[in-house]
């Protein structure tokens, strides 16, 4: 049997003597009338017309395809990659509905398994991602000066990423290959998309061929002691989050810098059992001292303290003790808090107020101290949530219950409003359907029915949905 190349029909070879080089060769031609037929999924037999190639990768190629008047992406596996095990994994994914929650919908999930008879290949159909809007981290870095993600958008993206990974893990899956190649960001909103989901498997199942991308592999995978799992996903997640906040790898310090030729054996050394975090407070062997590494030193300096603590935990005790890794829930809580603590310095820079930080808030841009507004401290049962109070601040359901994640649309519970009778005085209006209890400084309680407001009084408390909330400054 003659195997055709994945570039479609075979090109006719022209011997060198018979021709001059004329015009451009076209290795990736269009594919008129090549059909992919769904063999499993919502509608077996559905026909997709392959239009053109979008991208190629190690496992296969991705094409633009049409389904009626709708455009979709269609991945076709290389002959040597798409084995029966891979097909079984994708078949199982197609059966799973991943469109029910916002956390699930960020996964660009396989919808239909297809057969491309003309190429004797199989593949799958997935939603098309707008690559003009969604960029990977490298694209963000390469476009520096044109598009940048603000700190608040970065917090939003961090929240969405950890929240979606939590949902995936709760469903018993592991992703196996979290890396900068597979997570896309909309820098204008912080929204994310997770692509290349065909390696997502059942946790503990070692059938998938993909073990990760070296930069993101946990030490126990690098050394061959463990297979990808939700615990190794947590390591990869922390590495990617660190890169989003520093544009640098958490293990690239002096030890990496001294390596002349950065190849796989070198990566195995730096990412394996000898791995040391560049800001490990107890081990300074791998500090990023090189002048070229000033970027990561500056980024660490201005990073919110909450994140510094989490990254330190993730890459010290969490590095070699998988059970001690920072969980998605911890990241989720931190990013929700930072997102809601975003302030604008008079110089124009966006700042993230951080309850973990000691001393006054300093602007990372102009270095001046910035006044922090009063806050509502919400005792959530776990770590308290601190909501800065400025005109129009909204109290939302997830502020009261951070571990439940954010609803979509968010549940509006209250809002900061001016007291119409007394200029300069403010209140928190009850926009929920149930009354609150206001506890004044004298200990006296008053009811705050829906549409009425609790006065913003330093030290006073409001009981909202069984949570104790305290006005602080």
């Amino acid at each position: 049997m003659v195997r055709l190349s994945t570039q479609g029909r075979p090109q006719k070879g022209v011997p060198f003597e018979a021709t001059e080089v004329a015009g451009k060769t076209r290795p990736h031609m269009s594919h008129p009338n090549v059909l992919a037929i769904a063999t499993s999924g919502s509608t077996p037999g559905r026909e997709y017309t392959i239009l053109r190639r979008l991208a190629g990768g190690g496992q296969g190629e991705v094409y633009l395809a049409r389904d009626g008047d709708r455009e979709v992406a269609l991945k076709v596996y290389h002959a040597h990659m798409g084995g029966a095990e891979q097909e079984a994994m994708v078949r199982a994914q197609v059966r799973e509905d991943m469109s029910r929650t916002p956390d699930q919908r960020r996964f660009v999930w396989p919808r239909d398994l297809v057969r491309v008879a003309a190429w004797n290949r199989w593949g799958y159909v997935m939603p098309l991602v707008d690559r003009g809007r969604f960029l990977d981290l490298g694209e963000l870095q390469a476009r520096r000066g044109k598009v940048v993600m603000s700190p608040r958008r970065n917090a939003e993206a961090g929240y969405q990423l950890s929240s979606s990974m939590r949902a995936l893990h709760l469903a018993g899956h592991c992703y196996r290959d979290i890396s900068r190649n597979n997570i896309l960001f909309d820098p204008a909103t912080g929204e994310i998309r997770i692509i290349d989901n065909d390696n997502v498997g059942v946790a503990g199942d070692t059938q998938s061929g993909v073990v990760g991308t070296p930069e993101y592999m946990a030490p126990e995978i690098i050394t061959g002691r463990a297979a990808p799992s939700s615990e190794t996903d947590l390591h990869a997640l922390a590495v990617l989050l660190f890169e989003m906040w520093t544009w640098h790898h958490p293990l690239h310090g002096d030890l990496e810098c001294r390596v002349h030729c950065w190849d796989l054996p070198a990566k195995q050394r730096i990412y394996g059992d000898q791995a040391v975090f560049i800001f490990d407070p107890r081990n300074d062997a791998n500090r990023p001292n090189d002048p070229d590494y000033r970027g990561v030193r500056a980024a660490w300096e201005i990073m919110p303290e909450t994140l510094r603590r989490l990254f330190t935990a993730a890459f010290t005790e969490g590095l070699h003790t998988p059970a001690r890794r920072v969980t998605e829930g911890q990241w989720q809580h931190a990013f929700l808090q930072l997102f809601d603590g975003a302030l604008r310095c008079p110089c124009g820079a966006e700042l993230l107020w951080d309850p973990a930080a000691a001393g006054p808030l300093r602007c990372w841009n102009c270095k001046k101290a910035v006044a922090v507004p009063p806050r509502l401290r919400i005792d959530t049962g776990a770590a308290p949530f601190h909501l800065p109070l400025v005109p129009d601040t909204q109290l939302l359901g997830h502020h009261l219950r951070p571990s439940h994640g954010r609803g979509e649309p968010p549940e509006l519970v209250g809002q900061v409003v001016p007291n119409p009778g007394v200029p300069g005085m403010w209140g928190l209006r009850n926009l929920s359907g149930t009354p609150w209890t206001f506890v004044g400084m004298d200990g006296a309680t008053r009811l705050v029915p829906p549409q009425r407001s609790a006065p913003l009084t330093l030290g006073a408390r409001v009981m909202i949905q069984n949570r104790t909330c305290t006005f602080e400054s």
Binding site: G295, A298, A349, W364
Partner: protein, 238 residues
């Protein structure tokens, strides 16, 4: 939003040295050398595109041409990829592959290479066998003793029919000797092989990609796409 101050993030870079080693002996005359010139000119923008979103990778390119002697076609000073242009190459008489390797080895010396780099890429393109086989073997042996030489991603492309090239000689150059030699029997294949090898080697050397198990090489170079090329009936075979 763009008028607001932006976070002072910076990407630390490593250099990737890319060397073309190109045969311009007399047998390359005609369509082969024209195809080669065209292929390399077309490959440059594809390599640029492949690393465009990897600001951590700084590709520096040079080229050595060899016939009776080997000399710099572009170099010895490395040229940043975005400034690299390919000067049209003519043909000459011999195939001094050995001297080309010697010239390359001289540049892979630890003292001349960057403090921090990715594995260099050496792409050897030839349509014959080395004029001096003994000197070629010695030059290759020497290259492989150099720290940067043995870690380089080395790919040879053999141009022409089976009886014209010395497959064993060219395969010995490859960093993965288990791999089949990349072959170009005609213009279309030559263009495609040059583009694939130059782009795949650059990406494999520098950008992190998903891995599928224990590596046997020091870089993860993907498999070359499999091709079946049909020779039209009646055409002359070179």
């Amino acid at each position: 939003m763009s008028s607001h101050p932006t976070m002072p993030f910076e990407v630390a870079r490593r250099q990737l040295h890319f060397l073309w080693l190109v045969d311009y002996s007399g047998s390359m005359q005609g369509a082969k050398i024209q195809a080669l010139n065209q292929a390399i000119r077309e490959a440059i923008p594809e390599i640029r595109a492949a690393v465009a979103n990897h600001p951590e990778v700084e590709v520096l390119m040079r080229a050595i041409r060899f016939s009776d002697i080997a000399e710099w076609h572009v170099g010895p000073d490395p040229v940043p990829l975005d400034q690299f242009t390919w000067p049209i190459l003519g043909t000459d008489n011999y195939t001094n592959t050995a001297m080309a390797l010697e010239l390359a080895a001289g540049e892979l010396d630890v003292a001349k290479m960057p403090r921090r780099g990715f594995p260099p890429v050496l792409l050897l393109i030839s349509d014959g066998e080395a004029s001096d086989a003994g000197r070629y073997r010695a030059a290759l042996q020497n290259l492989l003793t150099l720290p940067w030489g043995k870690r380089a991603v080395r790919i040879a492309i053999g141009i022409g029919q089976d009886h014209q090239i010395n497959e064993r000689e060219l395969r010995a150059f490859n960093s993965d000797v288990e791999r089949p030699l990349l072959r170009a029997h005609n213009v279309a294949e030559l263009v495609e092989q040059i583009k694939w090898a130059s782009t795949a080697a650059t990406v494999a050397s520098s950008a992190g990609k998903s891995a599928t198990g224990q590596a046997t090489q020091n870089v993860l170079l993907p498999q070359a796409p499999a091709h079946v090329m049909l020779i039209p009936n009646g055409g002359d075979v070179f």
